[in-house]
Amino acid sequence: MVRPPVDLSVNVGGLALRYPTLMGSGCYGTGAEFAPFADLSRIGAIVLKSATLAPRLGNAMPRLVHTPAGLLNAIGLQNPGIDWLVEHEIAALGGMPCPIVGSAAGFSVDEYAQVCGRLDASPEISAIELNISCPNVASEGETFACDANLTASVVRAARAATRKPLIVKLSPNVTDIAAIAREAERAGADALAVVNTVRGMAIDVERWEPRLGNVAGGLSGPAIRPIAVLAVYEVARAVRIPIVGQGGIANASDALEFILAGASAVGIGTANFLDPRVPERIAVELAEYLASRNLRAISEIVGRANAGFATPEQREGDAG
């Protein structure tokens, strides 16, 4: 008997994707950098590097430390500013074979709103990720995602600036991520990205000094996966909007943990630094996993390991 094809498509708060994989912001350039190494028609979407209103030179070097099970980074939002980005880089992305998600960063509610406005006006941009959780900028970069009231105000302002799907990226460096998630949902987020990097540092024992120019950085990769899976599990019980689960996903089994915890799609960042073909491979293996269980669609298993999980899609699935 010929099995019908497995449906890997997902809808992330209005962002329709053929594959449930988003290339993590800051890990994938504009996508063009990876075109010689990956088939961009077999990934879900590319999330651009976060942009601020004004150009930023970023942090002092070193910006990267390889650790036993992941990567510490402190890039510091180096970017040419949103105007330059829109005119010179985003405008060149029209031919990309997958949707492009813009990423907005900032240091005030108003700055976030302005960056979102510029991304909203760019036809090449299918959705906007609100990066309120960068751990690597000197002052208030991450403050937004660490405070429920600030999260609410910045999401409200962004919501007012765009009608495109708005994905709010949350920080794991909080006491109660579910409470922050609820505020983001109430303020108008269409989806949540869970999670950004975990704060960390490394010390050079020969020179007796921090290894990163910025001292502190964000840890990604397999080391943080259990932290991220729990965050998705808790957020999925607290909100009804879709979740993009991310944190150390390097294969289909990793991705399935997030999906079963309640993520509708997954973000892939650091694994692209091992092998840019990882996202394509994950899609193939997810299809095989579903087919071997006689399941037709990835959406059927979202949240299935999470008894307290109930999105509208999930309830619909149960009824069917």
Binding site: A35, M61, L64, H66, P68, P97, T270, L274
Partner: protein, 269 residues
């Protein structure tokens, strides 16, 4: 927009030589990569197994059918690569980076290499020698044992000046001390640790000789996607990313994408 993964090379190890304890030269069957690789470029090698990141390695040598990589075993990922044996597969991404600019190169060139920097300069030496240039290799390491592959350079026709920290071969001291006291060439190429490159840049500037420096840095992606490996450049540099002007006229370029080779006079480090 290209959608084919055209620069992914599924190669096979054809030879493995331990140049000295802890320094490995791997030769891979990779005709397509060999055909397009230029001196000073690098590849990202994907270690088999559970590694969390690929390893950036200079393209050491190449012939019609194969490329060679020379590396020091320094951590988990290079240890995995060093364990590869002939017949085993290895995926390489590349060639990456700009490489040395050897167009209209003069006929008297000095190459300065420190430690593992030797891995990125052989192809340049070979190309210059083929063009009839005099090539002097100023080669430094901690100790004589680590001055690997000297015979390869010598047999190709390089003149070699050695320096070691402990005096076990050549001059006792820095290789740049040897360069400073030598007859100045018309062009300097260099690859090695940052202090060596800085000293080379100073010597080149005072002698008014152009220098191309291949920078070493920790990479994450190696393809220009993460901005983890930047170096300050003057705004006017042809290698400056096309960014808006900053107040101090400095831009930060990606070593992996705009480099790894930069003109010494344009660096502001």
């Amino acid at each position: 927009m290209a959608v084919s993964a055209s620069r992914v090379h599924e190669t096979r190890v054809v030879a493995r030589i331990e140049a000295t304890a802890g320094v490995v030269v791997l030769r891979m069957q990779a005709p397509e990569l060999a055909a397009i690789a230029r001196p000073g470029q690098f590849v990202m090698a994907i270690p088999p197994g559970e590694a969390s990141a690929a390893v950036a390695l200079g393209l050491y040598d190449a012939d019609a059918e194969s490329v060679s990589l020379l590396f020091f075993v320094a951590g988990k990922r290079t240890k995995v690569l060093a364990a590869l044996r002939p017949g085993e597969p290895l995926v390489l991404l590349g060639p990456l980076g700009n490489g040395f600019d050897l167009r209209d190169a003069p006929k008297d060139v000095a190459i300065v290499a420190g430690g593992v920097g030797i891995a990125s300069v052989l192809l340049a030496a070979l190309e210059l020698l083929r063009a009839g240039a005099r090539v002097r290799l100023f080669y430094g390491a901690r100790t004589a044992r680590l001055l690997v592959e000297r015979e390869r350079f010598a047999s190709a026709g390089c003149e070699i000046v050695l320096a070691t920290d402990d005096g076990t071969a050549g001059l006792r001291g820095f290789v740049t001390d040897a360069l400073a006291s030598a007859h100045m060439p018309a062009l300097i190429l260099a690859c090695g640790p940052t202090p060596m490159l800085r000293a080379t840049a100073t010597i080149a500037a005072s002698a008014n000789v152009p220098a191309q420096l291949a920078l070493e840095e920790t990479f994450a992606c190696g393809v220009g996607g993460c901005w983890g490996c930047v170096v300050p450049l003057v705004q006017e540099s042809a290698q400056a990313p096309h960014f808006p002007k900053t107040r101090d006229g400095i831009v930060r370029a990606r070593i992996c994408a705009e480099g790894p080779v930069f003109s010494a006079s344009e660096l502001r480090w």
